[in-house]
Symmetry: C2
Subunit: 205 residues, 2 copies
Amino acid sequence: MTEIKFQRTGILFVVSAPSGAGKTTLCTALRQKPDFVYSVSCTTRRPRPGEIEGEDYYFLTHENFTEKMKANAFLEYAEVHGNFYGTLKKPVLTQLERGIDVLIDIDTRGAAAIRANQDHIIQDALADVFIMPPDLEELRRRLERRGTENAQELEIRLANAAGEMKCWRDYRYTIISGSMEENIEKFRAIMRAERYRSSRFFLEK
Amino acid sequence: MTEIKFQRTGILFVVSAPSGAGKTTLCTALRQKPDFVYSVSCTTRRPRPGEIEGEDYYFLTHENFTEKMKANAFLEYAEVHGNFYGTLKKPVLTQLERGIDVLIDIDTRGAAAIRANQDHIIQDALADVFIMPPDLEELRRRLERRGTENAQELEIRLANAAGEMKCWRDYRYTIISGSMEENIEKFRAIMRAERYRSSRFFLEK
């Protein structure tokens, strides 16, 4: 043994947060300089103006989605307000096996489904991160500033957030949301450190 | 619950490497801007010129060292060429309990002893990092450049290094040694990420 050639398996970065915690901003910023593949979800809901097929979502028909469900093609899926959302398993596994990291932006329920997945490739690859809003008052201010909900919707979002915030312990990492720059820097540190985990290395043959 | 106040426990960073891999340079650089307490070892060997009590080592008499051994005061200790070396347990535990991180620079045998420690505070706090020389040829060049060993000592060091290099899997992290700047940056990323581990947080009462 004179030379050591390491190779490594891909990492499955899963990021969740209550709405208003800064997750979308974080992921958008990370995707500007990607050293990972972003996992695009499938959905049966109609595209909103400006949404791009294959970048925001893969827009599937209900029939097509159901077929894939039956074929066990999803890593996780859920029905939300009558629409289905899901993450295809195959593209995720393919990247991980190639040693390419994957980033999945998903709600706490989806993250729990991924954690519960029995596939050892998924389990070994998983590094999940929860973005915690600093507190509910600040979250309220952020959502009010964003102004995308009416008063009633805002209360529902806040109630959901309070519930989701209890999930932080289930994640390997918790980032207390600060400025966008702070969140990016913290997330990048986690990404880097996860790449030095011995368990991800194997010796080249 | 309107406000979330997290506190966290201290992290026990343990760093090992074969000699010539760049560990001492790394630790010296990290100690320039410390956001941790560096664990100073005890030894029974005589101080070398320039070595400072309490900074390089705590220099103990053989009798004093043996008393502490009997009192189970060491987190780990070893005899090397007739001299004893050891890490006192109490100061490490005190810092960790205060939420202060501790850095221990120790050989692979010492790291193994710390890993084997049954104290749950130590186990929960532990984040161990192995610095892997790029390859044995490069390690030989580095040791030759350093010029602190004669030809025979150099061969012994290289043989030891080859053995130690097999330990990388036992560590949570492995850094393939590059330039000093790269090593510092990688180690700093690990330090940051470890501070976001959910398992280290607890809610303030």
